[in-house]
């Protein structure tokens, strides 16, 4: 059902945790639907230098969170906003169709964290 890459990121998720002095953070999804993702980003000179996540959800939700953190780390905040759920799914060698909404959640979580960062910058 799941690709080897999905299983690898599920078994050994990268960047799990929280950033205490996060530049931005976002939480998406809800427990009712069985999926919640929280992303924290650390931004220095417009570059995402660190990113951590916590996820309540299925195997695909954990794997997409993990992959998304790897994909935005080292990128500028605007580059991070260009990350699509399709790109995350492709990087994992695909997801079963019923699990595509999990990758959407990962995209939304990154967006929410960046939006939060931009809002804080605007102040």
């Amino acid at each position: 059902m799941y690709s080897e890459k999905v299983m690898d990121h599920f078994e050994h998720p990268r960047n799990v945790g929280e950033i205490n002095d996060a530049s931005g953070s976002g939480t998406v999804g809800n427990a009712k639907c069985g999926d919640i993702m929280k992303m924290d980003i650390k931004v220095e000179d417009n570059i995402i230098t660190d990113v951590k996540f916590k996820t309540f959800g299925c195997c695909a939700a954990v794997a997409t969170s993990s992959m998304a953190t790897e994909m935005v780390k080292g990128k500028s905040v605007d580059e991070a906003l260009e990350l699509t759920n399709k790109a995350v799914a492709e990087a994992l060698d695909g997801l079963p169709p019923v699990k595509m909404h999990c990758s959407l959640l990962a995209e939304q979580a990154i967006h929410a964290a960046v939006d939060d960062y931009k809002k804080k910058q605007g102040k």
């Binding site: 599920f10 078994e11 998720p13 799990v16 945790g17 939480t27 427990a31 009712k32 639907c33 069985g34 999926d35 919640i36 993702m37 929280k38 916590k54 996820t55 309540f56 959800g57 299925c58 195997c59 695909a60 939700a61 954990v62 019923v98 699990k99």
Partner: protein, 390 residues
Amino acid sequence: MNKIIYMDNAATTATRPEVLEKMLPYFTEHYGNPSSIHSVGRDARKAVEKARRQVAEAIGAEPREIYFTAGGSESDNWAIRCASAALEKKGKHIITTAIEHHAVLHTCAALEKKGYRVTYLPVDGDGRVDPEDVRKAICDDTVLITVMAANNEIGTLEPIKEIGQIAKETGVLFHTDAVQAVGAIPIDVNDWNVDMLSMSGHKFHGPKGIGVLYIRKGVKIGNLIYGGAQERGLRAGTENLPAIVGIGEAIEIAVKELPEYTAKMTSLRDQLIDGILAEIPECRLNGHRTLRLPANCNVSIRYIEGESLLMRLDLAGIEGSSGSACTSGSLDPSHVLLAIGLPHEIAHGSLRLSLGTENTQQDVEKVLKELPGIVKNLRSMSPLTPENLK
């Protein structure tokens, strides 16, 4: 590779080797069509009728009340669709419960679209239906009551005998889906006062693709499949001979071994339940503590999601199942867990471990050793977990 600990026997069981052995000659040696009049056909006919007697004896029925089908879902469909159609002139009201198997619920939903009224009775927090609710729901136009004998997810046993009594008193036809109950608890169709009963071979170490619908003599429910004269003309089609032999053998063994099975399963189940509740904080048992299937353990573990839990257990060589949305292919968690009053987020974190005859004390110990660590790990990465549980 570690030994796999299979604890998903409510989903399906392994066919017993001694059952398979009895089945094999009916593929290659005694392959006759039971409808043929020559000796090869007659041998096949004898085998079918022996199996019919074995099944009848196991549930206190007469052989002519046993009809072979392709499984539990077919039996449920036949009972509900054809009984309601046969009684259409009397009325269009069916009584069932909110926690039935989808083979019953979706059949009822299809009948609603055809103009039937269906009452879905609620259950209490343990998943038990109140027989008095059944009585109160009966109207002049009620044609059928269908209540499961034991729930497939949470293992709760329903008061079938009491409901059977009410059905008898009020003259309403009573069907029970006993797919999980056959081979797990004693069954007597006369003691229970059921008119129809569904079962499935692969739930009690028989083969897949074979089931039975018991139909009490005198109850007319009409044809499921038109064609030849098989199954008293009600379910046409050449019999699935090897599988029929298999279900007959499997049920005979299951009933013979029931006392031993009950003692062993209940003991392992209770160790599993008590162990999990003691080792894992913020965890609850789903289903009735004692009025439950001897082999069923179902718990909800807060702050984690069922599919992740199943995958982690699978990696540790432990096979279970869950009522989370992600394992059901929809966005909603199990209708059974919602019906017993669990909020969505707790229903998503459910784990069902259903034991089988192959399971041992060591298996239970292994689960109790592995599960708390897996839960702790998943909770450590959950944004919902309170500080003290991280």
